[in-house]
Amino acid sequence: MMHAVWLIPALPLTGFLILLATGRRMGDPKAGYVATAMMVGAFVVAVGVFFDLMGLHGEERRFQQDLFSWISVGGLDVHVGFLVDPLSVTMALFVTGVGALIHLYSVGYMHGDERYPTFFVYLNLFAFSMLMLVLSDSFLLTFLGWEGVGACSYFLISFWFERPSAATAGKKAFVTNRVGDFGFMLAMFLIFATFGSLNYVPVLEGAHELTHVTATAIALLLFVGAVGKSAQLPLYVWLPDAMEGPTPVSALIHAATMVTAGVFLMVRVNPILNLAPGALTLIATIGALTAFFAATIACAQNDIKKVLAYSTVSQLGYMFLAVGSGAYVAAIFHMVTHAFFKALLFLGAGSVIHGMHDEQDMKYMGALRKWMPITSGTFIVGWLAIAGVPPFSGFWSKDDILLAAFEKNKALWFIGLLTALMTAYYMSRQVFLVFYGGERWKKPEAAEAHGEDVAHDAHGAHGDFKPHESPPTMAFPLVVLAGLAAVGGILKSPLERWLEPVLAHPHEFASSSSTKLGLIVVTTVGALSGIGLAYSIWLRNRVRAETVEPEVLRHAWYVDALYQKIVEAPGRALANFSAFVVDAKVIDGTVNGVGALVRAGGTRLRTVQSGFVRNYALAVAVGAVAILAYAVARSA
């Protein structure tokens, strides 16, 4: 089955091509089922490849398939080929698995949208790109997938492009990603210059020969790419805005798959990272700071999806913290569990939005537990997982990360701990606001907040409107993901053994078991106190809400305004300067000036043609004198 690994990206690609050609004719819901079927097929092949790979042992667990030569220029020889090893198979499994579930969910969620088939065209294209990214055997092919997912992210975020905010968000995502991609490209140049090849196997096997400086440079440049793609400080600003896209997009791309590409890349090049301890410290620091920073913002958001967006940024920060602390397996483990519970939370949020007829402000929800039992049940499972309550999956993965951070640097551990506390707090706040408490959508302020839509309830919920549960195509993925989020913790030790061949040297936790136990207790106490805090504020109203939600947090520390001032304004000034001064005055001036000069010269020279014979005779005489002078000079 391993030889069929090319089918894994090929099936979504086929889906893309089929839907591109005939999607509109297929319509709603056939186009969606075709796309989902392709994803399920890819998942089945991935499972087959996985079992095949398990049949090999230890260091032999690696299989390369070369399809064809893509670029062969000078010293650069890049093939389209796949590298099947534990890391890529793990990624492929959850990309196809979670992806298939989300495709199924989208069949129900996007029902009724007039561009329904186009949505699945983009989704399948995205799946193809992501699978190329994880399965490829060279940096360049990964970069192809990297750019592909960036482009699909742009398409999907601005899917409802008639909304100006959606179109802008798509642009913002793409442009911010490009900043990171620049780092990736520079890293590839450096890798090629150092190793003469862009394939993973020769580069990673020869990594031990790198000098400290080169390794640090490559590591940092690749990290720049990861910062862009995985929304870390300072390039995270696109992710919250990306919530303009449909909720399945947020679940698939901005929770489970695309944003994890950065973490995947870091783990893939761990032999290089191990030679650059300074870079590792920087990665860990940025990860921790991002986690903390995003969590503070999430505490004050009212939009149900924005909370989850900042939560994603924060959890990605945890993954980079793990990478920077050398605990690569912990990072991958958290990536997998995060895929489960974050996708679940997003799909659940989508279900809520769907059932509340496109209402997204949590202040106008409440007590949905009795109207949407399946949604609330699965959402609560996801909440407990992300908050780090044992024995759900999030507890196991977060715990490993905090242990690794503790061993690296106590300050980073403390930041991580505070973040865990805040994570528990804001997720509990979200659950209590949405599923508990009073039915706030009946309040008159809800109707006012929706302005002209009071006449019909097509947009927004108010009055004697009743929320409804979602159809089975949407409920089924929720249930499956909830199950995975609940029991995912058992993957912990199998994953460690499984991923060993991919690591340059496996990470050993040096702490004693008593330290480990102590840390677990501290973390769990932190999580529970976060939940308790949210309970007392939002359910029992012991503390006024305004004190814990200052303006600065609600406006995300005004980072967007800051970027506008320091980046956009000078950029716009530069563009204006280039257009109206350099182009209009200098370049056009030069070109026009040459023309004017020629014309002026011509006008002056015209006077030589006076039309008078005597002038012409004079010219002849002068010429004759010149020739005679030459003759005289010759004879002298």
């Binding site: 006076s610 039309g611 014979v613 005597r614």
Partner: protein, 101 residues
């Protein structure tokens, strides 16, 4: 004692110069034509001088032909002038400037 050839050449040169200046300065077409004749005569004189200096009859043969061609040229030139400036007494060379750029 014979006059050295160089003197004749100098005289011819001056005659040529006067003819050239006259051609460039005068506006009356007929006088311009006469200056051309002066220049031709200067050339004839030069050729004859060289015929003597180099003891070669070829110089005089050339003068013969120059004479004939000059005559033909005068004929045609005057015919042109007549056809252009027919019955206009104040015609000058400056009146024709159609080639003005």
């Amino acid at each position: 004692m014979s006059v050295p050839g160089a003197w004749y050449l100098g005289l011819a040169a001056m005659l040529f110069g006067i003819g050239a200046i006259g051609l460039l300065i005068r506006r009356n077409v007929l006088i311009m034509f006469m200056c051309v004749e002066l220049m031709l005569n200067a050339v004839n004189l030069t050729f004859v001088t060289f015929a003597r200096m180099l003891n070669d009859i070829g110089g005089q043969v050339v003068v013969f032909f120059v004479l004939v061609v000059a005559a033909a040229e005068v004929v045609v030139g005057l015919a042109i002038i007549v056809s252009i400036f027919r019955r206009r007494a104040d015609a000058t060379a400056d009146d024709i400037s159609l080639l003005k750029g």
